[in-house]
């Protein structure tokens, strides 16, 4: 199919050098045409769906920020609690706040699907899709 659509395709088959040249030219031309078409389509899509993108971006922002903030808050609360119990005043908060940041980043990576869910790889191969089907 592709062979036929190429400009000057099948009838140039005889002369070797010319064919190579023509093929390279047509490949370059086709690539440029593809780029132009893709660009046009992409701009058209972004122009049309900008409001929808805003909405989805807002939903994504709430989702990811809640995941991250939750990790940090839990780390801070744990650290503060350990400090109150053990009397190690600044250190528990410092260490657990940093761990909380790590957990927050892990939460974000999980909810975007960049890292597998805990136990998902072993328990069910198809359940590592995360919660990316809504907010």
């Amino acid at each position: 199919m592709d062979e036929k659509r190429r400009p000057g395709g099948p009838d140039q088959e005889g002369a070797g050098g010319e064919t190579e040249n023509g093929r390279a030219d047509s490949l370059e031309a086709r690539r440029q045409r593809l780029d132009a078409e893709l660009l046009a389509r992409r701009t058209a899509e972004t122009g049309r769906g900008s409001q929808k993108d805003d909405r989805q971006g807002y939903a994504l922002a709430v989702k990811l920020s809640s995941e991250f903030i939750a990790g940090v808050i839990v780390g801070a609360v744990l650290g503060y609690g350990i400090d109150r119990l053990a009397g190690t005043t600044p250190w528990g908060l410092i260490v657990f706040l940093i761990l909380g940041f790590c957990a927050g980043v892990l939460n974000i990576l999980r909810s975007t699907g960049a890292v597998a869910q805990p136990g998902a790889a072993r328990a069910k191969p198809d359940s590592g899709r995360g919660d990316d089907d809504g907010n």
Binding site: R55, A59, A70, L78, N107, G119
Partner: protein, 249 residues
């Protein structure tokens, strides 16, 4: 009518009750929780009381909601997860009906209070922890031990995993709460623009068309969000229950 966008979230005591120094008053929030449960239960009861082989329109709404939650649960937690169906279905219906009731003007939105959504999330996580330990014993702790981590890093990774697990109820509740709160405030602010522009004479009334159109569009969006957040809450519940059922054999 108050023009304060936060005013709609105020708790007011309807029947003050105090037992042993604890304030157990029946508030407007309690009233709307009761209304939510009554509406959801009444709808399901009345629409399915006919038990027609060929369902009427309303009966098929009930059946669709059943099928919807059941397939969500089967996908998320496997067929074993169906033992949690009553809980997931109740949670889904409660959140959905509470969100939708909040769309009525002058109604109170139960899910726009963090403590309510947090209580719902703690119910989910509490079920996961209790069921996980009851079913698997200490094997449940395997959830926090990812495979293929070098021994030296293990304590650190386990600690991070534990914090990540503990942060689940918070992110679950904050997401529902933040979406409902932000949506209702936005709606109120735009509606407030209509009123304050409309009181500025002919030019103001012309300008008020823009925020009015925005309010109409936002109302539609809020109905979508009301459904979507109930769905997300139920999906995440299924995912967490899956951890309790299969803690990484």
């Amino acid at each position: 009518m108050s023009n304060d966008p936060i005013h709609q979230f105020q708790i007011s005591k309807l029947v003050p009750i105090e037992i042993g120094g604890l304030d157990l008053s029946f508030t407007n929030s309690s009233l709307f929780m009761v209304a939510t449960v009554a509406a959801a239960a009444g709808f399901l009861f009345l629409t399915t009381s006919n038990r027609g082989m060929i369902p009427s329109r309303l009966q098929s709404v009930s059946e669709i909601s059943y099928e919807f939650v059941a397939s969500m649960l089967r996908d998320g937690a496997g067929s074993q997860g169906m033992r949690f169906f009553p809980m997931v279905f109740s949670l889904f219906m409660f959140v959905l009906v509470a969100n939708l009731l909040g769309m009525f003007p002058y109604f109170f939105t139960v899910t726009s209070h963090l403590i309510v959504t947090f209580a719902l999330a703690m119910l989910v996580i509490g079920t996961v922890v209790v069921y996980g330990f009851w079913k698997h014993g200490l094997h449940f702790l395997n959830l926090f031990v990812p495979s293929g981590v070098p021994g030296a890093l293990m304590p650190l990774v386990v600690l991070i995993e534990v914090i990540s697990f503990l942060s689940r109820p918070i992110s679950l509740s904050v997401r529902l709460f933040a979406n409902m709160l932000a949506g209702h405030i936005t709606l109120k602010v735009f509606a407030g623009f209509v009123v304050s522009l409309g009181s500025m004479g002919a030019l103001g009334i012309g300008g008020a068309i823009l925020p009015l159109a925005m309010t109409v569009a936002l109302t539609a969006l809020e109905f979508l969000v009301a459904f979507l957040q109930a769905y997300v809450f139920a999906v995440l519940t299924c995912m967490y229950l899956n951890d309790a059922l299969h803690p990484g054999h």
